[in-house]
Symmetry: C4
Subunit: 372 residues, 4 copies
């Protein structure tokens, strides 16, 4: 039995459509779904759709460079693979396929605690490309300590601590689709690694939470003691929490609402970006994920203060459609879109992407031009 | 002939869909419909859809408590069954089924003058759980006096006077669906209890109204004379009327537009909340009904000053789908959603739900953070 | 051949649907259509849909009176039949049917120069009820003079001069539907009465207009010389033109965009109302037509300064569905809706409908309450 | 084999529908499509849909004149044919058909470097009517010089330099539709004329651009040296770039986002107009293209400072439907709409179209009337 040949796609819409056809309803609901009424899922996309970009002309862009640094390490472009669990449900290549494609494209990949392949296999597939390890805080301290040691040993160069998932959100589409995270899903990092727990269950008159769900900001201090890796805190949407990240030694924060999968009703990632950027100040890098689909979206996020952006669902679509080669093709498309957007806004380098790129953020010659 | 087995539902959408399938068109029109073009029905939902919530992370929520007090009485959660007439049209269990489920869940139930079961049966089904009696002012003073005496005797602990229904609204969907409140609908509290009258009918050159429709604020004073129960005034949307509630000794007010069933074009309940909360001041409790569907909606209403919220249509959907056990299942879902939303906004108790929860209402550390 | 029996309707939606079924596509396109993309047609409706009404409770409305005066003459309610041409295309009863229904309901009717029945027949059908004559300025001065004399003789008590139709608008839906105002349409007021001319046609390098299209404000002065009837100017949307109406002795103005049939892109009638009311001051009455569908819409227009409102398309729907008796039934529905809306906003009389009725217009006790 | 007879159309919607039926999917995708998600395509239309126009009445418009001057040359109306490539794909008449229709209507036509007919043929078809030559900057300087010489010799009276297309935008609909600009498309101006290049392709770690894509503002100076024709710069959306046009001797600028075909996310042309008009000052003419569909749209653009507007897609629709005679018919419709809109806003001449025409731009007698 040979696998279906990967489908060709020339555009993002074709990619999404092909993935929808290729995945089972159950897995598609898992990939696309969000929490509750999926207001925040839509808000992530709509915030980019509302953004308006100021094009510039005749700027002499003879050569174009997409490269930049993320936490000091050079990458081919300011976007990375966002951490996503259970990629083996989408395609047999799973995280190894994604890592291979990211490495070939010179991109940073972030891989989940809940990968279906082991972090060592993923590291091997990543070759010389940078990789980060995403951590879901574990109820068993020893399990967590072993994960961190393995990550460091396997060449992961940062820890991405996800803080917006003390319990799983109310994922109705997933529930209706019948997707369950159960024993049938392989946990690449070992059987004692646990996913976040479900909704708090009543215990007498109150609701008790699993130990990992009850973590405080002290957790960052503990992680610093256990691991030498720089800490990136993922799932920050408010200035208050951003301040605490800085106070507890985070090297970077990811403005994210978990792709709209946790609490329906929180702001779009892009709408929360400015507040977080202002709060952390220049010493801490800020990334964003949620709603980035197009090359121009990347420019918008960078113009508003992000250092790089994470790409989520489209990577899964591409993985579903063509495994590692599908993901590679998608990265090429996105780089080409980004390059085109840079030419059309007159930017030769990522460093030139400043806040004058979006309407209302002032202009080169005059602050706040007419109508802004 | 055995009844159909209750349908299972895992999500609110499945519940609503199942209810639509199970009820006759006529009853469904009654349940879902509102006044006129149903602008206010939609506005109730849209106001919650527009609300944006500030999540908080790493707040050390080890244990969670949904309990609170409503007019001094402890309840398991800050939501209650809104008063709704004719529940026997939806399911043979009617109000008795709802009361049984509310009691099992430790929730306050408010039951209508126009229940299809007697208030005494409902009281018995409520057991130790708190129950309030909703009053439609009666044209016959003696009928009203007897209702109040029975309520007090049956252990109802507050009177909820509905003031927004001097006449019934223009309920087009109901009219088209053919739903009529006629002799075929049993009036559990006795045949001399009357529903609000229809649109005023012309009498010569003017329109005369039935005596109950012509009530003034003196009605509250009269009720205080007849009954020792605290008075909750339901159907307040303006500061002016809220002031009068306070002046006439109301213990609480319910910000409500009768689920959009009375005057199409009045504000969403959530949009009117702040004005009423500001008007009554701290001595009078404010509740809200209209548009509450999700756990996070409850938090939003509480953050904006409500002490508790009433749940309307979803209770009828659950009753239609599974009788008392359907309602119980819905209450479990809603509590789980509320608990999840509290964890994800970092709240351990209902008392911690303050105005910093919604964007634009300031923050813990800085008033009005960037962009708010 | 007997006519189909009139269809019953209980709601406005049923009425509109029944009319759509009963009229030919061509006539329906004429009735419903507007200019261009029909943006202004939609804007008329959306402006009312956006309006928010402040309900009031327990105001002791024991008796209700819809009566008011329009230009000093008593009418049963503050709405009137807007002038509409060619009503015989919709139903054999035509304007005579409408007039009979208006008279029975005690309502003012305004009848078009381009009625399919003669103004004398209409006057007879109107009995004791007030009627006004709508004038399309005629290219032939003698034709116009005779029309005015006949109107005065037949008991019309005001002239409504339509000023927004020097040429017909670009009515695409009508053009697509194939509706043509040609010789087959009877002109009740005589064969020498002309409709407004079509789009200006090129003449060499410029475009010449028929003499009536080229009128100036002097026209009002001429009409005062020819007729003793008070002059109502219809089709005013700006303060500038409203000032001129006052300067040239108009007794009243109608804020109207001709139901969105003239220039697509002009404001909704309701959105233009405040500007015109402020411009004319207290000595001149202001009416509105365009988008009024519901009883509560009438209150909104009155709260914002209109003395009365004209009803257009719904009258044609009712005429199509049931002739005179259909129109009568519609008037009853609308009066009942208006009465219900008055009870629910606590108004006993039309004089009590003030600007506190709509949110943002202040309140009884405090100017601009919280949130307004 | 005879061609299908041209379809009749009475309205713009019929025209668009007929074109959609008549063109292949591939060509229709080319005509209608834009960049990315086509947000900017929609924004162009929505900006006009949002504009509100102040009608005026009784202004004595006895005669109407649509004529005006564009760069000093008289034209029959303030709209022109926007430059569009490959018109031979739409109809065998191609640019020659459009030119013939424009000449008959007394309108300015702008013809693309990438026309499917030679500029000399087009010039001949244009007769005495003004024509401008649109230039895509060529990688081969000699090729460009010869184009400019031919244009001057063939009686083109201005050069329209398109500056927003250093590379082609990401045209997904076109890619999905399978439209390719390849060898099969005749290049009327000779085989050595090149279209803009595709997305920048990677070269090692950076992206190199074709020489023409790397142009700077010096290009304008070079063109002035090579050609005596006045220079119109097309594709300006910001004040910054508008200033540079003035500095480098442009006679006019076209506010344009290339019909939404270049960078998705840039502002609607109409929304960018005010900023550009303010930036260039009175000495330089400003035109607009993108979203103009109706006569009233032309007035809106003129009221906001445009001297004339370009018409794009509708010309192609008309060409598809009826060749030269279809285009002629469309021009007649649009002129009639414009004339009607002028009468209904009380304007006799194009010079009278001032900023009081759009709400919020002040009024004749009072600045900023009530509500504006």
């Amino acid at each position: 039995m040979t696998p279906e040949p990967p489908e060709e796609f020339r555009t993002l819409q074709e990619l999404e459509g092909a993935a929808a056809r290729r995945l089972s309803e159950e897995v598609w609901a898992y990939v696309q779904g969000g929490a509750g009424e999926e207001r925040t899922v839509r808000a992530n996309l709509e915030a980019f759709a509302r953004a308006t970009v100021r094009p510039r002309v005749l700027r002499g862009v003879a050569e174009l460079d997409l490269r930049c640094r993320i936490l000091g390490r050079p990458v081919a472009a300011p976007f990375f693979v966002a951490p996503m669990a259970y990629q083996g449900k989408v395609h047999p290549d799973g995280e190894v396929g994604v890592a291979r494609a990211a490495a070939a494209a010179g991109l940073l990949g972030v891989y989940s605690t809940l990968s279906t392949r082991s972090m060592e296999e993923i590291a091997e597939a990543s070759g010389a490309a940078p990789r980060w390890f995403q951590l879901y805080h574990q109820p068993d301290v020893e399990v967590e300590r072993r994960l961190l040691e393995r990550a460091e040993r396997a060449g992961y160069t940062a820890l991405v601590l996800t803080v917006d998932t003390p319990v799983l959100g109310v994922r109705d589409r997933q529930a209706r689709g019948g997707f369950a995270i159960d024993a049938s899903v392989p946990v690449g990092n070992g059987p004692d690694v646990l996913p976040p727990s479900r909704a708090p269950t009543p215990e007498g008159e109150t609701y008790a939470l699993r130990s990992d769900a009850a973590a405080t900001w002290e957790l960052l201090d503990e992680l610093h003691r256990v691991s030498r890796l720089p800490l990136v805190v993922k799932g920050i949407l408010t200035a208050d929490d951003a301040h605490r990240c800085v106070d507890h030694g985070a090297s970077a924060v990811v403005v994210s609402n978990h792709g709209g999968r946790q609490l329906d009703g929180v702001p779009a990632a892009l709408d929360a970006l400015a507040e977080v950027v202002a709060a952390v100040g220049p010493g801490v890098e800020v990334y964003l994920d949620g709603g980035v689909r197009r090359g121009v979206d990347i420019l918008v996020a960078l113009a508003r203060g992000a250092k790089a952006v994470g790409i989520g669902r489209p990577v899964l679509w591409a993985l579903a459609v063509g495994g590692a080669s599908g993901v590679g093709r998608y990265f090429s498309l996105l780089k080409a879109e980004l390059a085109t957007a840079m030419v059309l806004t007159g930017r030769r380098t990522i460093a030139e992407v400043d806040r004058t790129l979006t309407v209302g953020w002032g202009s080169e010659e005059r602050r706040r031009p007419g109508g802004a």
